[in-house]
């Protein structure tokens, strides 16, 4: 208390009640009237009325003090309320930030998926242009069969050709032999 300078006291008092038309004045007036009442030399009725008046002023002072205390309590509670709201909002901000970064990751994932799908589509388009594997296999099988049949026929024809060749060979060789025999004995009386 000793460290507080007069200036501080004056400043504080001016701040609280600078106009002099309020509680401060009331307390000063009460003190003055109290001292006056203590030193009063008037009649007991006057003293009594003064006493009543002082009680009234005292009640007024108490009343205004009560009011100020209530206002002070209210302010404290408002402060707490605001603190709570402040922390709530901060939490909301951080969770929103988290959600945003999650969403960004989602978007990256979705873009990658989309890219993969598009690559797949592009390749699928190219593959579609080529003929179906089953069809090609069937065609190959049919061609194989045809080939086998034809080679079979070719074998048959070749066999027949061989046989005819041999038969003709036999025939021609017999004819030749006969010719030779006829030529070798021309003057033998063969023809009857």
């Amino acid at each position: 208390m000793g460290a507080v300078t007069d200036d501080e006291v004056i400043r504080k008092r001016l701040l609280i009640d600078g106009d002099g038309a309020g509680d401060d004045r009331r307390i000063n007036v009460l003190l003055k009237s109290f001292t006056k009442w203590c030193n009063s030399t008037g009649s007991p009725e006057e003293g009594f009325t003064q006493y009543q008046r002082m009680l009234g002023t005292l009640a007024q002072c108490e009343f205004s003090m009560g009011k100020t205390l209530l206002v002070y309590d209210m302010n404290l509670r408002e402060m707490e309320n605001y603190e709570k709201i402040y922390t709530d909002i901060e939490q909301n901000i951080t969770s929103a930030h988290d959600k945003i970064s999650e969403c960004k990751k989602e978007i990256q994932r979705a873009k990658r998926i989309r890219k993969n799908r598009q690559e797949y589509d592009a390749l699928a388009k190219v593959i579609q242009q080529h003929p179906d594997r089953h069809e090609t296999l069937k065609q190959l099988e049919a061609l194989d069969k045809e080939l086998q049949q034809l080679s079979h026929i070719k074998e048959n024809v070749e066999d027949k050709l061989e046989l005819r060749k041999k038969q003709f060979h036999v025939l021609l060789s017999t004819i030749q032999e006969l010719q030779q025999t006829l030529e070798s004995k021309p003057d033998s009386p063969l023809n009857s």
Binding site: Q108, K111, R112, K115, Q118, E119, D121, K125, V126
Partner: protein
């Protein structure tokens, strides 16, 4: 040959024009590259200059007009800078048939001294072939260079020695791509062929002549391939023929994109394909072949598209072309602002 002559003539004309104050009118941005930290963008133009922009200041909330201009502009080569590539520490630039490396840390400090400059062994000494494309093969730590001499040169990044030359193209090479997992290098050229090379043997494993496929071919534009990009089993290529998506395992085209004009660069991004070329827009396409959106931009014709995937804060798409302005997209759906060379 006609194209080479025309390019020589245009180079000399542009060098003259670069001295005049309306050089901005004739400027074209040919290449872009983001720094490894993702905070800077380097762009190369037809005057042989490289400009470094600070993306972090251009994207910050208190950006001014000044932050949309380069923090550093310098002449890197005598000819146009057709290709830029960033490694973990250096910016590689190709121009006038040579490759220079600039340390990113030095560039940020505005020091424009090249770390090294090398030139592949060209057979003919008469004409210096331009280098159109450069990319790095990370498994071998080698730089793959495609140039005007129809060959692909491979240089070891550590030693600087030119290890091998891949021959096979019959006309100059426009674009390159590397498939790390399979160890393949793909190249697309003026002769209309996309060749797939095995990086170990140096042999051409496959040769796809895109213009021979009826669904892709656009004879009215020609057969040259100017853009090539790969991702796992898929490849995008385009140029004279329409931009098409190929499945590399089956070597078949799966989707054709109905984009008018020749595409000069295409990229896979998430579930979409972004493509730029002739035409004042960035095309967004789906893998199935449909064009989802075409976003308008400043340059009338676009040459380069770059995505800043190195950084989380500055994830932007930038495009450059026949204008001194480079459009920046923070949201793929619209142009946010433009950087000025």
């Amino acid at each position: 040959l006609q194209r080479k002559l025309r390019s020589i003539w245009s180079i000399s004309l542009l060098i003259l024009l670069s001295r005049y104050k309306d050089r901005h009118l004739h400027m074209s941005v040919f290449s872009q590259s983001f720094s490894p930290c993702g905070r800077f963008l380097a762009a190369g133009n037809n005057y042989g200059e490289i400009a470094v922009f600070s993306l972090s200041s251009a994207l910050s909330p208190d950006a001014t007009d000044l932050s949309q201009t380069p923090i550093l502009t310098f002449t890197a080569h005598e000819g146009p800078v057709f290709s830029l590539f960033s490694t973990d520490s250096h910016l590689l630039s190709a121009g006038n048939g040579e490759i220079s490396a600039w340390s990113w840390a030095e560039l940020i400090k505005r020091n424009t001294k090249a770390a090294w400059t090398r030139r592949p062994n060209y057979k003919s000494s008469l004409e210096i072939p331009e280098i159109n494309a450069m990319t790095v093969n990370p498994t071998e730590n080698s730089l793959v260079i495609g140039g005007g001499d129809n060959n692909i040169h491979i240089m070891d990044l550590e030693s600087g020695i030119f290890k091998s030359v891949l021959q096979g193209h019959t006309d100059y090479i426009h674009c390159l791509s590397v498939r790390e997992r399979e160890g393949e290098i793909l190249s697309g050229g003026e002769d209309g062929a996309v060749r797939i090379w095995d990086h170990r043997t140096g042999q051409s494993v496959h040769c796809i002549e895109v213009y021979k496929y009826e669904e892709c071919a656009r004879p009215q534009y020609g057969k040259w391939i100017s853009c090539l990009t790969t991702e796992s089993d898929w490849m995008l290529c385009g140029g004279g023929p329409s931009l098409s998506l190929w499945h590399l395992r089956s070597m078949s085209p799966t989707s054709i994109f109905p984009l008018s004009g020749c595409q000069r660069q295409a990229n896979f991004y998430q579930d979409m394909i972004l493509s730029v070329g002739e035409g004042q827009c960035v095309s967004h396409c789906l893998l199935g072949g449909e064009v989802k959106a075409q976003i308008p931009c400043t340059p009338h014709s676009l040459n380069t598209l770059a995505l800043n995937l190195n950084s989380t804060d500055n994830r932007v798409l930038t495009v450059g072309g026949s204008s001194h302005q480079i459009d920046v997209f923070t949201n793929l759906s619209y142009r946010t602002f433009s950087l000025s060379f």
